[in-house]
Structures are given as C-alpha cells and as structure tokens.
Symmetry: C2
Subunit: 206 residues, 2 copies
C-alpha cells in the first residue's frame, strides 16, 4: 500500500508570503511568530529606512544606507525591490536561496507591490493577505506608530485602499484585529499546518 | 474600503467530510473532536450494524434494525447509503438539512465509497482522507478492534488498499498515527480554520 506521509516522506518546505497594506501589523505578526519558536526560516528584508524603536538589524530588517541599497540593486543582488512611501525595500536573493535549501518552511514578509512580483516568479507559494478589521482601525494604528507626517498617513491610507483590490490574487486573508495578534498568529500557523496536509501540495522552486 | 471579514461577515459554514478506509480511526477521531467542544454540527450516520463497546445511539451512530434501514431507503430518506462489509450505512437527509441550516460548520464521517457519492452531490465540501501510517498499523488496529473474523480482516485490508487509490480526489490527507490521535484532531482543526480564511471560500449547498 502506497501510504502518503505528509510529515515524514512527502511534505515539502513551503514558501509563505505575508503581505498587506502598511499599518496592518505585518512586522508585529512576524515578530510574534518568531517568538513562538516554530522552526521556520524567516527571510529578512533589506531597507534603507531607519529602524523603528525596538527593531533589531538582521532580525527585523537589514538596515542599510541609501548608497548600500543602490549598490545591491546595481549588482542584481535583490530578488525584487520596491519603493514604498519613498523608502526602499528589497529581498536579498542570497537569503531566499539559503532559505529554500534549509529544508524549513520559509516565511517572507513583503509589501503588496512586492507580493505581486513574487506571484509572477513563484506560483506555488502560499500568499497570505493581512488586513485590519476596518479603515478606522488602520488609521489609528498608522498614527500610533508615529514618525509619519499627516500627509504620509493620508498617503498610506489611500494606498491601503488601493491595495485591498489586490486581495483576490491571494490565497488567504487574515484579519488582524486590535489586541488579537495571537489569534492572527494562530491563523497563520493553521494555514501552514493545513497547507502541509494538502493532497496536491506542490514543490516550491525559485 | 471593502474589508473582507472571514469571521464576522463573509465566512460561511463549511461542510467537512472525514473519510478513509476502515480501521484508520475515523470514529475515534470524530469522538475526540466532539470532546474538544468546538461548535460543530456532527451529522450522525445511520447503520444496521450492532453498536461496538462504548458507542452511544444518536451520538456515534443511529443504530437501526435491518428492516428499519430498508424502510429508510424505500422512503428516500437517505442522502446516500452504501453496503460496507455487509453492513448498511447511510446519511439521513433530514440531518444534513438541519446541519446546513444550523449556521455551524458541519462535520460528516463517511466511508470512501460514500465520499465519492458526496463529491458528486457537493463540490464545495472539504474532503479529508484519514489514513494509517502503514499497512501493518492498519492491520494491527483492525485486529485490536475485535469482532471481525480473519476473513473479514483480510477483506477490509484488501478494500483499504483499493481505497487508497481514491486519495487524489480528496483535498487533504491526515495520517492518524498510533497514539497520536490528538495530533490528527489538531490537523483537522487547522484545516477547518485555514479553510475559513481562504479568499475564495465557497458557499456550500446541497
């Protein structure tokens, strides 16, 4: 009898993309997911924006200068990169390669623009769209985060409204409600667990 | 902004089919799932086989006589029915209707034959295939269960081998290992949670 074994024999590492508009809590979700101690390989994004309070270089982001970022682009070292609200963000190719050979599930946080690019490059990734539960909640979070001018907050909100239109291209939607971050993390963990149990689970390759 | 809300606005009840060869532990899994206290609506199968030790009428099965079962067929009261190893099993239509109007997720345990029938009737159900981790494990369980003759055990094993071929028609596979029933239940719960988060979650109707 040919018994399929989703854990020991036939389950392949997954590439999980966590995306969504600015302010929905992507960074907080990834941080909490790390704290839970599951054996995931987290791909760290490079950015030339300054660290926010509590952010650690090499864990939350690779914080580089504008010049360094420009050199990474020139040398073709980025899988994709985008200017998000005037700040550069990009995924170093080298990290993705390392991640995919680690044998672990790979979790990648990326803005909605970037997710579209990855969707063209990798069809068999699992695309999760993180969202706030309402426009007001999103606005409140963007303000609470600080560091943005009123104009920037308005820009981010307008962009978020547009980015919501990209939702149908994603596989899953997780509503990250105020004070319910653990529930959102549980949602993501359930998605990853279920995807491993899919009969037609694909092999991801970049 | 049109925020989709998978729990409060747009999440529809799911129809979850738990199937798999005899001896893989479908009944034990459903029983443990009930014990966990999640608000599911369990569809109870009617059968004319005698109760096994500990089985409760109306909870594990509706235990009816051969005559009663024949009348249910005559009256068209069954959504589907099949003869499994000489014993009749069938899903009362009335229970499925009640279940689908309950607003809760509906969990239905059914043999592999029956699952094929349901697949033709309802495309948007979630089909979970439960399996043992090996042929030996399955054989040991069938023997431990008692009440079967050697010939019956051999018949069930041969049928199980054939039923494994139906796996590609299912959405998910859960390997129910000896002593790891809780892990299998967690698998099923993860599948249900993830299915609620799908962007293209369908509405089930029978």
């Amino acid at each position: 009898m040919n018994i399929p074994d989703p854990y020991r024999l036939e389950s392949h590492p997954l590439l999980i993309i966590v995306s969504g508009p600015a302010g929905v809590g992507k960074d907080a979700l990834i941080r909490r997911l790390r704290q839970r101690g599951h054996p995931f390989h987290f791909v760290v994004t490079a950015t030339d924006r300054p660290p926010r309070s509590g952010e650690v270089d090499g864990v939350d982001y690779y914080f580089v200068s504008g010049d360094q970022f420009a050199r990474m682009i020139e040398r073709g070292e980025l899988l994709e990169h985008a200017v998000v609200y005037g700040q550069n963000k990009g995924i170093p190719k080298q990290h993705v390669r390392e991640a995919l050979t680690s044998g672990l599930d790979v979790v990648m946080r990326i803005d909605v623009q970037g997710a579209s690019t990855i969707q063209r490059l990798v069809q068999d990734a699992v695309f999760i769209f993180l969202t706030a539960s309402s426009d007001c909640e999103l606005e409140a979070r963007l303000r609470a985060r600080g560091g943005d001018t009123e104009e920037q907050v308005q820009k981010r909100l307008a962009a978020a409204r547009e980015e919501m239109d990209r939702l149908p291209a994603f596989d899953y939607v997780v509503v990250n409600r105020d004070g319910e971050l653990n529930s959102s993390v549980d949602d993501v963990l359930a998605i990853i667990r279920a995807e491993h149990l899919r009969v037609d689970q694909p092999v991801v390759a970049i």
